[in-house]
């Protein structure tokens, strides 16, 4: 017969297993509650008008929708992605293709890490100082918000791209080089296409992260009620709309905040979901 494990040890084991399971459940509680309240409070605000009218800015009467905020978020985040993705992947390409071991690239890696840790509001301040205070291209403007967001996204893009590019088997680079391909063609025809799905996934996740940021937009894009498609003007955005609405006393404005939050989270989740689907389909090797 097999001697049973001492009762005390078994009990400790069971207790600790329960504690770890409990911790996991506790971790998920906020998610459940946030989602629950987003739907409960936010769904009531959602209507056709919600997406097709601008905030009225009135204290009394109907508060209007969030069209300008949605347009602003898409425009600002879109431009930020256009800036951050090529630059971020470029830096990662340097690190993987040219600077595997040298001191310079280790310093660059360190600074990319530093950038990841810089609080978003500090990026906002920086762009405020450099672009808003100096009055380049007017005062507050959507594109300045884009640059602030791009600074946030850039290290995230770089780090994920570095991992993905590093996964491209060296044998493919060697095969292309041995065929007499110049380095730049190896990069553009072999390395980038092979890594493409992973690069898309990493970039979309970075963009999703940037889309929810409020702080950097506070002093760069500012906020206006009217819809504008011009990135050279002040622009509304969903996070700023929520931030401003939360602090209003009127119930209908607070409801608009919940509706905006539901919209924003839905947009981010859709981006995240697409990114993950691309990732899943790409496992060729």
């Amino acid at each position: 017969m097999i001697a049973p494990v001492a009762a005390r040890r078994r009990r400790t084991d069971q207790v600790m297993r329960a504690v770890l399971l409990g911790g996991t459940l506790v971790a998920l509680v906020p998610l459940v509650f946030v989602v629950y309240y987003l739907f409960k409070q936010g769904i009531g605000a959602i209507s056709w008008d919600f997406f097709t009218t601008d905030p009225t800015g009135r204290f009394l009467g109907p508060p209007g929708g969030v069209k300008s905020a949605i347009v602003g978020t898409i425009m600002i985040v879109g431009l930020a992605a256009l800036i951050a993705i090529p630059l971020g992947i470029g830096v990662a390409l340097y690190l993987v293709e040219y600077g595997k071991q040298n001191v310079f690239s280790n310093v660059v890696r360190y600074f990319v890490d530093v950038m990841t840790g810089v609080p978003s509001i500090v990026f906002g301040l920086f762009i405020y100082i450099v672009l808003v205070l100096t009055g380049i291209g007017g005062n507050f403007a959507g594109w300045k918000g884009s640059i602030a967001l791009a600074l946030l996204m850039l290290p995230v893009v770089t780090r994920s791209a570095e991992v993905v590019l590093g996964l491209v088997p060296n044998s493919l680079r060697e095969a292309a080089l041995a065929l007499g391909a110049p380095r730049w063609k190896v990069v553009f025809r072999i390395v980038l296409p092979t890594a493409l799905p992973g690069l898309i996934t990493g970039s979309m996740l970075a963009v999703a992260r940037g889309a929810g940021e409020t702080a950097p937009l506070l002093f760069t894009a500012f906020a206006v009620n009217a819809t504008t498609w011009n990135l050279g003007e002040q622009m509304n955005s969903l996070p700023i709309q929520i931030f401003n609405d939360v602090r209003q006393p009127q119930a209908n404005i607070v409801e608009r905040a919940w509706g905006s939050a539901l919209t924003l989270v839905a947009m981010i989740l859709i981006l995240t979901l697409i990114a993950r689907l691309i990732q899943r389909r790409s496992r060729f090797a």
């Binding site: 595997k100 080089l177 007499g180 110049p182 063609k185």
Partner: protein, 285 residues
């Protein structure tokens, strides 16, 4: 077993003419050899990984239109030697080579020589088949041409190369399917097709059959036999039977040094050096 290679070597020039289609102005080509390969001469070649010396001063001449095998226990530096010939060695971070490698009498390490041009003339087939995963069978073969920036009739060249690699009949109906969908042996022949599509003058094969099953191995060996009518072939192998079967001359290396270089028959039947004798008779490996 030991007499076989010499017999084949003697027959090869005679049977080569009908077997292979001439690639350039056939009228000028010598009768028994379809196209003259180039002589490759190593003169005091040393190769380093960081500060450790993997190849310690090797001098030997690979004759045109012959198959030369490099044998020796693993870690003896045979792969490093051949990677120095098309300057792939320097792609490894921290690695460099000294001495000279002459293609006929042009030094591939001369200061004004472009490494990319060297590799177009000296093709390479790797140990593990490494077709480009993002490309179809057709595109894989065309890749060499496209990557080295040559225009012209890609389609004909692809067919010609696939025929040259003995793969055409097996894949002609599915050229647009991914290259990585082929079996290991087919993939390796695809890589050979890709290499000869660029029309090199020398082909280096770094243990081309070590990852393949016996039947695929046999096909590769037959292919080598045909290819030598057009190219100078250098084949690294850890398989002595293979060296005996395909090579006209064989070089035996040990600890980064060339121990003996002679007719294959001599190496396997009557070597001068006792270490060669010990190795080919299997006293160490």
């Amino acid at each position: 077993m030991s007499t076989e290679p010499t017999e084949r070597a003697a027959q090869a020039p005679a049977e080569a003419v009908p077997a292979v289609t001439p690639r350039t102005a056939g009228a000028k080509a010598p009768a028994e050899i379809v196209s003259p390969g180039r002589t490759v001469t190593l003169d005091g070649l040393k190769a380093f990984y960081g500060s450790s010396e993997a190849v310690r001063g090797i001098s030997l001449t690979y004759a045109a239109n012959e198959v030369t095998a490099m044998i020796g226990p693993s870690g003896c530096g045979k792969s490093t030697v051949v990677r120095c010939i098309n300057r792939m060695h320097e792609e490894i971070p921290g690695a460099h080579a000294e001495g000279s490698v002459l293609l006929d009498d042009a030094d591939v390490y001369a200061a004004d020589v472009d490494v990319v041009a060297v590799r177009r003339q000296i093709g390479m087939v790797f140990q593990k088949p490494n077709p480009f995963p993002t490309m179809s069978i057709f595109d894989n073969v065309a890749a060499g041409l496209r990557l080295s920036g040559r225009r012209g009739d890609v389609k004909d060249r692809v067919e010609q190369s696939l025929r040259g690699a003995g793969l055409w009949e097996e894949v002609k109906d599915r050229l647009s399917q991914p290259g990585i969908g082929l079996s290991g042996g087919q993939q390796q022949r695809l890589c050979i097709a890709r290499t000869i599509a660029v029309e090199p003058e020398v082909i280096i094969m770094d243990e081309p059959a070590s990852a393949l099953d016996p039947i695929s191995t046999l096909k590769i060996e037959e292919l080598v036999e045909q290819l030598k009518t057009r190219y100078t072939i250098i084949i690294v192998t850890h398989n002595m039977q293979q060296a005996a079967r395909v090579a006209d001359k064989t070089a035996f290396m040990l600890s980064g040094e060339l121990v003996e270089f002679a007719e294959t028959e001599k190496i396997f039947t009557n070597p001068d050096d006792s270490r060669t004798e010990d190795y080919v008779t299997g006293k160490f490996g």
